[in-house]
Amino acid sequence: MSDTTSRRGLRRSVLPGFGTSAAITSLVITAMVILPLSVLVFRAASLGPAGFLAAAWTPRARAAYAVSLGAALAAAAISSACGLLVAWVLVRIPFPGRRLLDALVDVPLALPTAVAGLVYSALYVERGWLGRFLVPLGIHGAYSWLGIVLVLTFVSLPFAIRVVQPVLESLDRDTEEAARMLGASRLQTFMKVILPAIVPALLTGFALALARALGEYGSVVFISGNMPFKTEIAPVLIVSRLEEFAYAEATAIAVVLLAMSISLLIVVNTLQQWAARNAH
């Protein structure tokens, strides 16, 4: 292909057919992302500033944003930490059944999330397999904030693992060995050699996990109990408003949620670029 390109003297880009690919890319992004989001913003805008605030900034809505955001941040943090560990084990430690475990990582992506919510809550209620031990200790994994974090971790974990895994695979082991031979402790090797190389990937994983968790609805409604001001997530409010056929009000809440995830993604991306620069 590149041969053809150079023969025809089109040296503008390394990639062949740049114009076509650019057109397809922008078409896909416009049709799949920008257009629906514009409709969202357009519908919400029909309310006017006062109507928007009245719909999207009530005490109850603010409480729901706090629950959504807090639980999503906690879940993304847990996913990133556990994800790093799992990825490390999958990449570095050969053990029987590793391939099977590796395949299992993707299951949360394929499982309808409502099923996850039902199963998790059944496990953690007072007469569930885990709940019968945990509830007497005061740990309520169902119908609580903790429950929300649990299912959000479940749905976001694959993102955290799959982003870090290839980076760990491509890490140059010679550098680690050199560090060890030069007298660095295991902790020093990890902190000074390995971690800087994987921080950008960790941050990307965190961002993806967070974005996934913020918008999750299906699993959460089965485990949160949906108590207003306590465990009600913002997407439940959106559904409530849709039930009243109040489309504009529902989209107003969605716009706030969207704004939150976009700003968080920007923050994490900035951090990630900064980390990537510092890594070299």
């Binding site: 719909a55 005490p59 109850r60 039902l118 809550s121 059944a122 209620v125 007072e126 007469r127 569930g128 169902a142 119908y143 409604v221 089965f222 109990g225 949906n226 108590m227 207003p228 001001f229 439940v236 559904v239 409530s240 408003r241 849709l242 039930e243 009243e244 056929f245 109040a246 009000e249």
Partner: protein
Amino acid sequence: MIPLTWATTLLLAAMAGCSDPAAGPGGGSARPAAIELLNVSYDPTRELYRDVNAAFARHYEAEHGTPVTIKQSHAASGSQSRAVIDGLDADVVTLATWPDVEAIAASGLLRPDWTHRYENGAVPYHSVVVFVVRKGNPKGIKDWPDLDRGDVSIITPNPKTSGNGKYSFLAAWGATIAAGGSEDDARKFVSAIYRRTPVLDTGARAATATFSQKGIGDVHLTFEQEAHLEVDEAKGELEIVYPPRSIRVDPPVAVVDTNVDRKATRHAAEAYLGFLYSPEGRQIIARHHLRPWGDAPPPPSPGETWPAIETFDVETVAGTWSNAMKKFFGEGGIFDAIYQPAGDR
């Protein structure tokens, strides 16, 4: 793809015209040979319509010589209504509440007189809200005031997201008024109930799972036919309690005018809903523990009788459905007020 389908349909229609020149009323080549209807319904009617559809297909083909297949779509009633408004090609809708069908009429897909097109305001069957309790009824729950005791915890879905939840709320409210209570008493009673509702599931079947499978709560408020499914499933662990009076649940049906006129399926669609009022249709409905409309409703099974229960309807409780939506379940309505933090009123 689409032109091909059209061509096939026309071809089939032409062939049908040849082989059977007297094909049914409205007849001739304009009618497609095989009719396919889409019934957009809500969750708890899955089992009912499986039986209705099979019986209707036999009945319609015998009577008009046209084979008909009915496809079903089931989900939460409100989201089904929005799907039809947004373009889901339903020939008929059989939904949980009047507002869900009225919203479709408001969008112009139904003629405004849809409630007059079938008997009983286009409500072919009704149900009542009953109590499901644990085996032996350990908390002795017999009537609505028993729900107001401190040791009783109640499972019912969120009335803002569930039709089942709306009816249970209105049942509790209306039962207080019917027993001679004031609006204020009713407000106190429903507040007490929802304060002791530990989980607000978003849909009816999720609430059923919370109560029967996860063992949470002492009493589950739900429709009679759902209660029967739940109790049958629980194999002796649960039982039904009929309070002396409760709300009558009226799920309406309608032919989606715009869609059937475009698809030329009006004749079959109207016959389909009419079938729900026929003797055979009423038998099937009763078998699923829904109470068929009309005199001398057939019992659920031979020899059984429908338990007596005094009923009131949504109109008694709130005047109109729209009023109920606004007053109780609208943003800032009575239901929302239950959850306002004390300092925030």
